[in-house]
């Protein structure tokens, strides 16, 4: 029974929470009610058996407990406002097990936690806490901030939701595209934090990548648009290369040097199918295009046998929607693979001259690599040195230092 209850907690608790927020109109009250509901289930289900619809049972128990709690508080403290829950008449009992409404509750929760009027840090923290159900301590550990800082961030965000009256709703049609972008951005931030984690507690941070994928699957189930699908594909394809990206010594391995047998073929297959489907919709955007690039890499037997022409074409399409110097830089590297290092170097130099990436270590590393391929060893060395001056992550620094050392022995 305990095991079953724990399973139900795993799958249902955040859904129940999302519905309780709607019914009670308050995050903290809903969290308390959720815990009370599971405590009640723990006491009652072993005797009476698991109800036919556990989710509806839990929502109704949680709501009942919350109302009870509010009444008790009001008796002791006459200043407690009569919260909407006591006066509401529009939430009929039916709304508790209306599946469509419950699905919408999860979306409401996501869109509220990712509201653009919250800071980026707050959106990330709130989404992981409220939508994914991670503990405050877990999130703090993953982001290398003190738990008190993170707790503060969440408290402030909840206060803003209440005081500025950020509604608990899925935005209307005209606001939806912009707001969905913010949601996808939050999820991608969470993923990247986990994916590019080399410092601190790696394991905890890798869980962020898993959590981001889980969250996108949930979102895709609720809102199957092309870009949600594209983002899911992008994360699956990157994540599939996880075990080949770092060697036994914990050092970074470049895409071209990775042992492609270590790539997770099952995940690649799923990712590629999603990309193709998203591309076919013709309503795709930046995530689908990046996923398509990742898909081409994933299906290539080696760096040399990669269809670089197709990759350059995809970067061209991406540049139109996302005209940033980092995209230009990636395109330049692909051009170098297609047309040779000289063509790539010209583009990289032009990008560096624009200035925006002057302190971006990867731009200098790309230049160094191309110089090295052209046999311009001293140019390569000085570009690697500049890259080292700007790099912040240990494994990336060590990678660059190995490259310089290899130059000297040539």
């Amino acid at each position: 029974m305990h095991e079953k209850l724990s399973d139900i907690y795993q799958t249902e608790s955040r859904r129940v929470f999302a519905t309780l927020v709607r019914l009670l109109g308050d995050f903290d009250l809903a969290e308390e009610a959720l815990q009370d509901a599971f405590a009640a289930a723990l006491a009652q289900w072993p005797k009476d058996g698991i109800p036919a619809n556990p989710r509806a049972w839990l929502v109704s128990a949680g709501r009942f407990k919350a109302i009870d709690q509010i009444r008790r508080r009001m008796r002791f403290d006459s200043t407690v406002e009569s919260i909407a829950v006591l006066s509401e008449g529009h939430h009929t009992p039916d709304s508790i097990d209306d599946d469509a409404l419950i699905v919408d509750d999860q979306l409401r929760l996501i869109f509220t936690c990712c509201h653009p009027s919250l800071s980026r840090e707050a959106r990330v923290a709130l989404t992981l806490r409220e939508v994914c159900g991670l503990a405050t301590e877990e999130i703090a550990r993953a982001y290398l901030v003190p738990p008190s800082t993170l707790a503060q961030r969440i408290v402030r965000a909840k206060a803003k939701i209440r005081d500025a009256r950020i509604p608990y709703e899925v935005p209307g049609k005209d606001q939806l595209p912009e707001r969905l972008d913010v949601v996808l951005q939050v999820i991608y931030l969470v993923f990247n934090e986990g994916y590019s984690a080399f410092q601190g507690e790696q394991l905890v941070r890798h869980e962020l990548a898993t959590e981001a994928i889980r969250l996108t699957r949930l979102l895709f189930g609720l809102m199957p648009t092309a870009e949600v699908e594209g983002l899911l594909a992008l994360m699956l394809l990157h994540d599939a290369r996880k075990s080949a990206r770092i060697n036994a010594q914990g050092e970074l391995v470049r895409l071209e040097d990775q042992d492609r047998h270590l790539w997770n073929q099952h995940q690649i297959k799923e990712g590629v199918a999603l990309v193709l489907h998203a591309l076919a919709s013709r309503e795709f955007g930046i995530y689908t295009l990046q996923a398509a690039i990742a898909a081409v890499h994933s299906e290539s037997p080696s760096a040399e046998d990669t269809d670089w022409d197709q990759i350059v074409g995809l970067y061209d399409a991406l540049l139109i929607r996302m005209p940033t110097p980092v995209v230009e830089l990636n395109r330049a590297v692909a051009v170098a693979m297609r047309d040779g290092p000289e063509a790539g170097l010209q583009l990289v130099n032009a990008i560096l001259n624009q200035g925006e990436l002057a302190e971006y270590h990867l731009a200098h590393a790309a230049k160094a690599d191309l110089c090295q391929r052209l046999g311009r060893t001293s140019d390569a060395r000085s570009a690697y040195q500049t890259a080292i001056d700007y790099v912040t992550q240990g494994p990336e620094r060590r990678f660059l230092e190995r490259q310089i050392a290899a130059l000297s022995t040539d």
Partner: protein, 128 residues
């Protein structure tokens, strides 16, 4: 719930407008107020004279001092305000998006805090 929409723009952009452009923008603003009024969202609102007309007043140790100019020198200047009635922040944001100068500058949306005479001890409770 009440929200204050503070309209900011770079006055030099406005100064560079032709008279026809400026008049058109003003007509648009009047139409905006009319629409908000008809829909029951407009509580109050005014456009302001340019920032050179501003005076900033402070009282310290019971002594008042006035200085020439706005409270803060910023790239964009406060140009006007709307007090709006909206269901929630999403609706307030939507209303703010239709304030014409939002196309040139920015509109800051702030929920209004009702002062409760019985509330004590809140650190930044307005004392006025």
């Amino acid at each position: 719930m009440k929200y204050l929409a503070l309209v900011y723009y770079d006055e030099s952009i406005m100064n560079a407008m032709t008279k026809a452009e400026w008049d058109a923008l003003n007509r648009e603003c009047m139409a905006c107020v009319e629409r908000l009024t008809v829909n029951g969202h407009f509580i109050a609102g005014q456009a302001l004279q340019p920032v050179e007309t501003a005076t900033t007043v402070r009282v310290r140790n019971n002594r008042a001092s006035s200085t020439d100019g706005p409270f803060a020198e910023t790239k964009e200047q406060l140009a006007g305000f709307y007090m709006l009635e909206a269901r929630d922040l999403n609706q307030a944001i939507q209303l703010a998006e239709h304030i014409p100068p939002a196309r040139y500058g920015s509109v800051e949306v702030r929920p209004v805090r009702e002062l409760d005479p019985e509330v004590h001890g809140y650190p930044d409770a307005a004392s006025g």
